[in-house]
């Protein structure tokens, strides 16, 4: 599935979900980092793009690749593969970037691949285990299961807000968590 297809599908599903107003069902955009499959709240996803030329930022941590021009806006790009030391950080025609829009701040996130959009009912979501994969359990809201697939659900907002990423301004209230 191409990035553009996923993007369209994501948007279409997003609207349908709002329209049907099923409160207990959530939709996740799934992506892979190394061997692990992750899910991120579809409502936080603005679009999916191929990897662009990035302008390096002086004195930035290595996982911040730099900034891109997204239709006139300067958007920072973070490579989660480097951040979590998963997969090989290669940049080619197949490299995918998920553009997130959180509190009107836009951030690009490089991942290995984007798979599809998954609907999960609340009973399909289990709390995160104490021991985690590569990602700190602080940033995991739970594990989603569908058939034989297991999805690590990422609290992307908290992750981007974390001290070492600092891509979102630190929040003063804890209500932003799930």
């Amino acid at each position: 599935m191409s990035a553009a297809d996923v993007s369209t599908q994501a948007r279409a599903n997003g609207t349908r979900d709002i329209a049907s107003a099923k409160e207990l069902e959530q939709e996740f955009l799934t992506f892979t980092l190394g061997d692990e499959e992750y899910g991120v709240d579809i409502l936080k996803v603005q679009e999916i793009r191929g990897y662009d030329t990035v302008t390096k930022i002086p004195d930035a941590p290595d996982f911040i690749k730099g900034v891109i021009n997204l239709r006139g806006t300067i958007v920072p790009v973070v490579d989660l593969r480097i951040k979590f030391k998963l997969g090989k950080a290669e940049y080619n025609a197949f490299t995918v970037m998920i553009i997130l829009n959180i509190e009107r701040r836009v951030v690009g996130m490089v991942v290995d691949s984007v798979s599809d959009v998954m609907h999960l009912a609340s009973e399909q979501i289990r709390p995160a285990p104490e021991f985690g994969g590569a990602m700190d359990t602080r940033f995991i809201t739970g594990l989603g299961t569908l058939d034989d697939r297991m999805l690590i659900l990422v609290d992307i907002e908290k992750l981007l807000r974390s001290q070492d990423m600092a891509l979102l301004p630190p929040s003063t209230d804890s209500a932003t968590q799930h």
Binding site: T53, T55, P58, N69, G72, T73, I74, V75, P76, V106
Partner: protein
């Protein structure tokens, strides 16, 4: 009709605050004893408008207070009252009170009733002492209508010119009919023969018997507009003696009346809401709309540059039409950009206009004498810059008056005019604006500054050039006054002033002559949205250097570059020794040349200090649209923003001030 007036409140507040500013600056311009009537008129008009609006929109305390002002001003305007210092002071203080009342009304908070009442009493007292005996009430309550059925005998004989005032006797009579029952008799005795009659004149008169439960006042009110254009008698006839009714003819109109009526359109309020064009000279637009327009034009400029770059690879002969079109697009985009940017431009007067009042009040408090000279108030500057420069300027002006200008006796002893002069100057200089605050006061004391710096633990060389010593006043926690006064020693220091100016991409320079005064020069970019830049490359990366900070660029000779142990390298440029700063090292870039003689040195200047920035190559000069890095990322030291190049890539813009500060510090004087 139910109309929610609150929709007009914001406009009312905006224009009222503007009106107060107008009043204030006009009051300050008033020459006591020789007041310009046009200025008084302007002040009166502002108060008058505000009163009308306040009364209409239900801000009665504002209406009541401005009424007093209006009355006082009206007396001045009509020459009944001389313009005295006392009255001007009173009016100035009233302006503040009205401002407070309006702010309270706007924010739905409580007004400072004590000062309002106090000033109200003063105003009333002043009005009492006036030679005139004008009523001071806001509304002269109309006479309450009597409730008894009365019989009125009315004779209404309009003058011949009645129609020329747009009035129609039939309309008036019809309206009279709404008060009660009436019999109307037409008197056409004065009507001349048809051939001599002027169709535009009124020759008719009416006798009317009105039986109505109304007072004389309400009858008079019907005729109010034509009272002076007609012979009118209104007599109360006893109800019993109501026999004298003549034959009641129906209302007849003569041909001449019909003609006139034909000239008037009928009111047809049936189909409402046909969009009408409320044409007027200006419109109020939210700044966010303008900003989004500016952003869009910025995008357009980038797209245009991108197209031009693509087209450069094409054969101009084969693609002649495309090339012509592109160059036209280029011109149009530039003019559009200029036009859009000009929307945001405001005259400096916007900020300057507050200073006459400030200096007047402050000088009074300090027991000093000072006058203000303003030059170039009409110089235009971006609204956002204007708003942000107001506070720093305010501080500098206060500082000049407090620390610069001496007491009158000291000035006289020094052979100067007892009254000091503070000059505010604004002028365009290339792509920047220069704002100067100067005074003819005592100037800065070099020895004192050095002593103070040492006391504060700031390292400073006794031989440092003046420019460097003067900059000490901007050091954090540095104050030159022996005692902290409540005028300028309050809270923020000069260091904050400088920081604010730098945040705007500006620079501050000081010149001072002992005993003669000092001048603070501020250089600011005209706008925060675009910048003239020089693009330079280091390895793969392109950076933009703001052109106004570039002194020159050159290729150094190997023998001009020296290494100083532990302090990096320096370069000699025409006898001047400058720190050599490789951009590659500043930003820890992985690529780029390392030998100065193979690269280019760009000499950048800030606050009178220079450093030589080493880059690989100069790429070109271009106007760039400044984009914020902080809206999605964060501030980066040494970088003031970003822009998008013709090929769509992002380039970072250097923060020259910061680079010079960080690197010139290492420089041993």
């Amino acid at each position: 009709m139910e109309i929610d007036f609150s929709r007009f409140h914001q406009t009312f507040f905006e224009e009222s605050f503007e009106g107060l500013d107008v009043m204030e600056s006009a009051l300050l311009k008033l020459d006591i004893g020789n007041a310009d009537s046009e200025i008084i008129n302007t002040i009166f008009r502002a108060a008058h408008s505000m009163k009308g609006g306040a009364a209409t929109f239900g801000f009665l305390d504002v209406a009541g207070f401005t009424h007093l002002l209006e009355t006082l001003l009206d007396q001045m305007r009509s020459g009944q009252r001389a313009v005295t210092q006392h009255d001007v002071d009173l009016l100035l203080r009233s302006v503040d009170v009205v401002r407070g009342l309006l702010t309270a009304a706007r924010d739905s908070t409580a007004a400072d009733t004590q000062s309002v009442e106090q000033l109200r009493a003063e105003l009333e007292q002043t009005l009492l002492s006036a030679p005139s005996d004008k009523p001071a009430a806001v509304s002269a309550a109309p006479v309450v209508a009597a409730k008894a059925s009365n019989h009125w005998h009315i004779r209404f004989a309009p003058h011949r010119n009645l129609f020329r005032g747009g009035n129609d006797p039939l309309r008036i009579i019809r309206e009279l009919g709404t008060l009660g029952e009436m019999q109307v008799t037409l008197d056409d005795q004065a009507l001349p023969s048809f051939e001599v009659a002027d169709a535009e004149d009124c020759y008719l008169a009416w006798n009317i018997e009105l039986h109505a439960e109304c007072s004389r006042a309400s009858v008079l009110e019907v005729f109010a507009w034509v009272e002076d254009e007609s012979d009118l008698t209104i007599e109360l006839v006893q109800e019993k003696a109501a026999a004298a009714v003549v034959e009641a003819k129906p209302e007849v109109t003569k041909p001449q009346l019909a003609v006139i009526q034909g000239g008037r359109e009928n009111a047809a309020p049936a189909d409402a809401h046909k969009a009408s064009s409320g044409e007027s000279g200006s419109i109020r637009v939210g700044t966010e709309k303008i900003d989004s327009l500016i952003n869009l034009v910025g995008e357009l400029v980038i797209t245009q540059a991108m197209l031009a770059q693509q087209a450069a690879a094409l054969d101009p002969v084969l693609h002649e039409k495309l090339m012509t079109g592109l160059s036209q697009l280029d011109r149009n985009t530039r003019s559009m950009q200029e036009a859009v940017m000009s929307i945001r431009m405001l005259p400096m007067d916007f900020v300057f206009s507050r200073f006459p009042r400030l200096i007047r009040d402050l000088a009074g408090k300090l027991g000093k004498q000072a006058r203000l000279v303003m030059v170039g108030e009409s110089t235009e500057l971006d609204k956002s810059v204007i708003e942000k420069i107001a506070d720093p300027l305010n501080h500098l002006v206060r500082n000049s008056l407090d620390h610069g200008i001496e007491m009158p006796d000291v000035r006289l002893a020094a052979g100067k005019d007892s009254s000091g002069t503070i000059t505010l100057k604004a002028a365009h200089r290339g792509g920047s604006i220069m704002i100067e605050v100067s005074d003819d006061g005592r100037g800065l004391d070099r020895a004192k500054l050095i002593a103070k710096a040492k006391e504060r633990g700031i390292t400073v060389s006794d031989n440092a050039p003046d420019g460097e010593i003067w900059q000490l006043i901007f050091a954090p926690g540095f104050s030159t006054a022996e005692k902290v006064t409540d005028i300028s020693g309050r809270g923020v220091g000069m260091d904050v002033v400088k920081k604010n100016i730098q945040a705007l991409g500006g620079q501050v320079d000081i010149t001072s002559v002992d005993g003669r005064g000092m001048t603070i020069m501020i250089r600011l970019p005209l706008t925060l949205a675009i910048l003239d830049g020089m693009s330079v490359s280091v390895g793969e990366e392109i950076f933009i250097v703001p052109l106004n900070a570039v002194a020159e660029s050159l290729q150094p000779r190997a023998e001009d570059v020296k290494s100083i142990a532990g302090q990096g390298r320096v370069v000699r440029v025409r006898g001047e020794i400058l720190p050599l700063v490789p951009l590659r090292e500043v930003f820890h870039l992985g690529s780029g040349i390392t030998e100065p003689q193979k690269g280019i040195l760009v000499l950048i200047e800030s606050e009178g200090r220079k450093v030589a920035l080493m880059v690989d190559e100069l790429v070109g000069q271009q106007q760039v649209v400044i984009k914020s890095l902080e809206s999605n990322y964060r501030r980066i030291s040494g970088i003031s923003g970003a822009t998008i190049l013709g090929d769509g890539r992002v380039a970072l813009i250097l923060d020259v001030g910061e680079l010079v500060r960080a690197n010139a510090c290492d420089q041993a004087a």
